[in-house]
Symmetry: C2
Subunit: 405 residues, 2 copies
């Protein structure tokens, strides 16, 4: 099950000048498919990246952060699927470095100019020899093929492009992502990579990536578990010929950031749509909060509640569960008599209880849809947030409980 | 499914002098069973109580808090099952007060000397006429029968007693509880009532109840949802003849508190054992934390993780999911290389990864048990906490998704 959009048409995911993708079959875990991806970058790019906050962060995440901190300039990204190289201690870091050294030798750069990424089973040693042996065999590929090569239990590859006309020049953005929960066979990971040929100064790009992540990859929840390997990386190659954006006051800053955010949101939503066992795609829109943090707390309380998520699974307009989740979202001075809750366009709750005009039939009609928006109007401020989630199904439990049997 | 202990032998749940229980059939929702419970109290009792922190707290919770604050002295508790009187706004408060007035007239006290409790469906008006009509029909009962009359979807009544010999006198404690998740048909509630014939001054009793709740009813999680109606009330009738305990320095303070905590823990664990769809009873023991809050954060991260809970359901020693949950428990400076994790007595993780001597067979043997203790030794302080939970099964989803079908 999934509420995927149509898989990307390979021709519609456009190459980005300054990046070249390659894939190969390393046989880390999966047979008969490519599982190793290499992205080689031009020498003048800038990079912004955000990583998991999990204290058990994986070895490649630790190495990638170190390499970004050297300011040596990044020339290649390498991604293996099938093994997360997480919970692997000191040996794991040595293995990630060994992969970086092999990539560096192949593309002609220093090891600290390589960022490693891994996704798949954790607590297992990385089969570093298989990866190094496969590196020379990589073949040039497009984004759609690379998106397929980074999948774990995803049911569809996730990739998309955008183009933006600015001052007679075309700025291009392409991206790919993977993730479908914290997945088989232990937990996996959300990995997302976007490249653009815009030129963006590095400190500004880093800030932009953090802000974009906040409304995309940090606004989704499938099962509430934060993985050890989550990474979101944006490469700006500067090949579009448009002048470098160096401050938020630059004329093109907002246009470029808006397209980046739009593409990141599509990829983030694609992960939720492919959520393990998902049959419904749910948007929780929280309006008129006093702060974005407050709006996010309410959104996540609803998006994480197993009772709300099973009600969506059952297409049951179980308003009490939504109100209950709002009630425990941690807003100490929340006046429940003031807020309004909508299912789709239907006002379902106000004055601390069910709306007088609400009918079960109206709620049922909304809940029968595959895509549903829950709107909570807190009526206490002017800030909003959106959180994206899916339902909790028997299939989710089956996927996460039965895989060893 | 459930991992219940044997249901209580009615004769083993002992009456407490100064309290008299009654039940009747009001027909609020369930047919052919008693659903209305009245507890009439002696005039010299003291009461301590803790209530849900949910902002959508139910009308009876609001009224009970008001009545406790009047210092009028409480003479009766009234509990209906089948309707939670939550999300019912102003009318809900008026309905709860109407029930208090009827009880007061019947037992001969003022309405503010009555504490009302409700559990069951939310967002539905309380059928106050049915409750008031049934009040005159109540019959005297023991604790086991009352425990059955407060059930919603519980599969067994939950009641137990303790006796403590102090200075040649016997102090008795009896209690009952209900709850099995946030339950059919919207969400319900954890309700727990304990009476003792010890004499305990009210401010001290209130503090004792809060402390006991912290290690019992506030240390359990079935699905992470905090209900609108949760209440835990302790009545001390003072009928044992033992001198009143007025301070934590009194000679009997610690003995009485320990027995109260032990009884509350048995009732709290009985709720988890009867958790919706539960097949495993899990204790998460977090040791050597810097603070109790830190220990509880780690315990709850594990106890709330759908991935950990489905692994228990599958009897799968999926260590990565446990480590991952520890990693996102919010301890910013956690050194994952120092902590140790045990499944039962088996050391499963140390040095940031799987323990060298660990074998899948040893982990599997522990996971096959119906009762499992996960121990996390953080090795950074000297404080501990225990959290109690159950597995997440397909039956949980079915119970919470299918009930309207």
């Amino acid at each position: 099950m999934a509420v995927n959009l149509n898989p990307p048409d390979a021709a519609a995911v456009l190459p980005v000048e300054g990046t070249q993708l390659y894939t190969a079959q390393a046989g880390v875990k999966y047979a008969d498919r490519d599982d190793l991806t290499l992205m080689v970058l031009n020498s003048t790019n800038s990079i912004g990246a955000v990583f998991t906050q999990n204290r058990f962060c994986a070895a490649p995440v630790q190495i990638a952060k170190q390499h970004l901190a050297t300011d040596a300039g990044i020339r290649a990204l390498v991604v293996n699927t099938g093994n997360a190289n997480a919970g692997t201690g000191k040996q794991g870091r040595e293995d990630a470095l060994a992969v970086c050294r092999a990539v560096a030798a192949q593309v002609g750069c220093a090891p600290e100019q390589v960022l490693p990424f891994s996704t798949g089973v954790i607590l297992e040693p990385l089969p570093v020899d298989k990866i190094i042996a496969a590196l020379p065999k990589v073949k040039p590929q497009g984004w759609a093929e690379a998106a397929a090569a980074i999948m774990t239990t995803d049911t569809v590859p996730k990739a998309a492009s955008r183009e933006l006309e600015l001052d007679g020049k075309t700025v291009r953005f392409s991206g790919m992502a993977k993730g479908a929960g914290m997945i088989h066979p232990n937990m996996a990971t959300m990995l997302a990579f976007i490249a653009t040929d815009a030129a963006i100064a590095r400190p500004l790009l880093q800030q932009m990536v953090a802000e974009v992540a906040d409304v995309s990859f940090n606004a989704i929840s499938i099962d509430g578990d934060t993985s050890t390997n989550d990474s979101f990386v944006v490469v700006a190659t500067g090949k579009s010929g448009l002048p470098k954006i160096t401050s938020a006051d630059d004329v093109h800053y907002h246009a470029v950031k808006a397209v980046l955010a739009d593409l990141a949101l599509e990829l983030a939503q694609a992960i939720v749509r492919d959520g393990e066992g998902a049959g419904k795609f749910i948007t929780v829109a929280v309006k008129n909060a006093r702060s974005r943090e407050e709006a996010r707390s309410v959104g996540y309380a609803i998006a994480r509640s197993p009772l709300v998520k099973t009600a969506f699974y059952a297409s049951d307009p179980n308003l009490g569960r939504i109100l209950c989740a709002i009630g425990y979202a941690g807003i100490a001075d929340l006046d429940v008599d003031r807020l309004k809750v909508y299912l789709g366009d239907v006002l379902v709750a106000e004055n601390g209880g069910r709306a007088a005009a609400y009918t079960e039939a109206a709620g049922q009609a909304v809940m029968a849809e595959a895509e549903i928006t829950v709107t909570v109007d807190l009526q206490r401020g002017d800030t909003e947030a959106r959180i994206y989630t899916c339902d909790l199904s028997k299939e989710y439990v089956a996927i996460n409980a039965d895989y060893r049997s």
